[in-house]
Symmetry: C2
Subunit: 279 residues, 2 copies
DNA sequence: AGCAAGGATACCTGGCCGGTATCGACGGTC
DNA sequence: GACCGTCGATACCGGCCAGGTATCCTTGCT
C-alpha cells in the first residue's frame, strides 16, 4: 500500500463525501473513486458503504482509518525528522514540546543542564496547546515532550519520570476559600458561584465551565473571578494578579515525565533524557 | 514520501550495496539509484556516502533508517489488520501472540474467560520465539500479546498487568542444588559445572551458555544436565523428566502483561483485555 | 596499463495517475 | 409522477514517471 492511497482513504473517511474529499486533496472526484475501489479490491472487501445520499464506514473501514492515521503520522515523522537531520547547519538539533505555561521552572533547569553537557545540540522549545504534545511527537514535529500524568495520554511513548508533586487550587483571591490554609477535593466538588475549568481533549468532564487552551487564558479567567481550577504545585512559582493558590491535600499527585517516540535512536535525545533524569 | 521510496531506502541501507538491494527488491539497479537520489534531493541532503568500494549511512541516513522501519511497519500493519477485518468470515477476529511455552495456564484461563463473553470473536493463538512479540504487534501480524516484564521490551505498547510472580531456578534433578528448599541469586551467580542459558535479543549477557529459542529446547537442555536457568513460578506447572525447580527467594518479580498497539480501536480487543484484567 | 566492480547517466517504453465528459441511481419537490 | 439536483461510478484520453537496457565513469587491484 502506498502513502498516497492511505491519505486518499483518510480524506474520504473523514469527509464521508467523495467530492469534498477530492477537493481537500486537490484532485478531481473520479480518480479518487477509482483509487478507493482499487484499495477495496486489493484489501479483499468493502471499506465504505455507499448508501443513497451518503457514505458510511464499514467495520474494516474503521480499522483502516485508525491504522492509516498512525501509519501516515509515522511516514510524516520520518520525513520531518530526516529533513531536520540533514546537515543544513542552521536548523535545531532537537525540538522539545511542552504545554504552554507548565513546568517552566523544570524546563529551564533541564535546558541549562543539557546545554552544559559536552556535545549538546541546539534545542528548540515549542510551547503548544494542552493535549497537543502526543500528536506532535507522533508525526515528527517534535522529538521529545514534557507531559503530566495522569492528565496527558502517554500511550505509545517511552517515558522517564522527572518530578512528582501535589496539587493546588487556583482561585480568585477575593473568594472565601482563598484565605484557607488547605482544601480537600470534597470542598471543590461544587464551589459556590464558580465553575471548574475544562480542558480540551480530557474525557469531556461535562464541567459547565469555560474551555481553556493555555495558561494565560487560565489565569486571566481566574483573576476575573469567572472560574477556578486545580494545578500542580509548581504553578505557585508564577504570581498573578488577583489569583490565590491553596494546597489541596488529598488531590491525586501529578508526575511530570519526559517522553519520546519509542524507536528513536538519536544520541542527542538520549543525552537530553539522561540530563533530565539527573536533575 | 511514498512507501515504495521508504522500502527502497531501507533495502539499500541494510545491504549497503545498490545492486544487491535492487536484486532483493526485484528491480534493476538504475531505477534504484535514481529513486535514492530523488529522495536525497527532496529531503535536502545526502543519506548515503558513496565511498569508493562501498556505501555508508550518513547521520541523516541513520535517522531515516529507524524512522522508515517504524513507518513501514505501521503501513504493513494497516494492510494486514484491515485485510483481516474485511468480512471474509473464515478468518480469525484477533491474533494473540505469546512466547512458546510461557504462561500457558494463564493463557487457557484467558481464552476460556473471553470465549464466554457475549460477542466474542475467534482468537488465533500464535506462539512465537522469545522477543518476537513486539515486532509482530508493530507490523500487524498480531493484535495482542502476552509479555513478561522486565524481560520483554514493551516500548510503545499499551499494557495492563495480569499477574506478578516470583521466580524459580530450573536445574537438572541430579544437581546438588535440586534438593535445596530454596536458593538465592548469589548461589546462582556461578553454578559449578553448569552454564546459565542466554536468550536471544536480551541485552547480550555474555553468558557462555547455549542460546535457546523455545521452552522445549530449554527443558531438554536442562534435562541433559547441560545448563540451568531461572523462570517464573508458573513454569512449575509443567513437569519435565530430569528437571527440578527450586524457588529463588530474592529473584526480581516477573509481571505478565497483556499488550496491544496504542492506537487500536477494536471492540473485540477491548473485550479481550477486559476479560484478562478480570481474571 | 588493463581489468573488474559498482554506482551514475542516457534514453526509451508502458502503465497508471489525473483530467474532462457523461452516466446512473436515488430523493425531494411541485 | 415527471422533473431536477446531488453524488458516486464509468469511459476515455493525455502526460508523467517508474522501470528496463545500454553505457559511461570512477576507483582500486594486479
Amino acid at each position: 500500500m502506498e502513502t498516497r492511497e492511505l491519505r486518499y482513504f483518510v480524506a474520504v473517511a473523514e469527509e464521508l463525501h467523495f467530492s469534498r474529499a477530492a477537493q481537500r486533496l486537490g484532485i478531481a472526484q473520479p480518480p479518487l473513486s477509482r483509487a478507493i475501489s482499487q484499495l477495496e479490491r486489493r484489501l479483499g472487501g468493502p471499506l465504505l458503504e455507499r448508501n443513497s445520499r451518503g457514505v458510511a464506514l464499514t467495520e474494516a473501514g474503521r480499522v483502516l482509518l485508525a491504522e492509516a492515521r498512525a501509519a501516515i503520522d509515522a511516514v510524516d515523522a520520518a520525513e520531518r525528522r530526516t529533513r531536520r537531520a540533514t546537515g543544513d547547519g542552521s536548523e535545531p538539533g532537537l525540538v522539545l514540546v511542552s504545554k504552554a505555561g507548565a513546568a517552566s521552572e523544570l524546563l529551564t533547569k533541564l535546558l541549562d543542564a543539557y546545554a552544559a553537557e559536552p556535545g549538546a545540540v541546539k534545542v528548540e522549545v515549542d510551547l503548544c496547546g494542552i493535549g497537543e504534545q502526543g500528536p506532535r511527537l507522533r508525526d515528527g514535529r517534535a522529538d521529545v515532550a514534557l507531559l503530566h500524568r495522569p492528565f496527558d495520554v502517554i500511550d505509545g511513548l517511552d517515558t522517564e519520570e522527572l518530578l512528582t508533586e501535589g496539587q493546588v487550587a487556583v482561585l480568585p483571591s477575593s473568594h472565601p476559600f482563598a484565605t484557607r490554609s488547605e482544601l480537600r477535593m470534597a470542598d471543590l466538588e461544587d464551589v459556590p458561584g464558580l465553575p471548574p475549568m475544562s480542558w480540551p481533549g480530557a474525557r469531556a468532564q461535562a464541567g459547565a465551565g469555560p474551555e481553556i487552551r493555555d495558561s494565560t487564558q487560565l489565569y486571566q479567567l481566574v483573576g476575573l473571578g469567572r472560574a477556578f481550577t486545580i494545578l500542580p504545585e509548581s504553578a505557585r512559582a508564577e504570581q498573578h494578579h488577583g489569583v490565590a493558590t491553596v494546597p489541596v491535600v488529598d488531590a491525586p499527585e501529578v508526575t511530570t515525565v519526559i517522553a519520546w517516540p519509542p524507536h528513536s535512536r538519536s544520541l542527542a535525545l538520549a543525552a537530553l533524557v539522561r540530563a533530565a533524569t539527573r536533575l
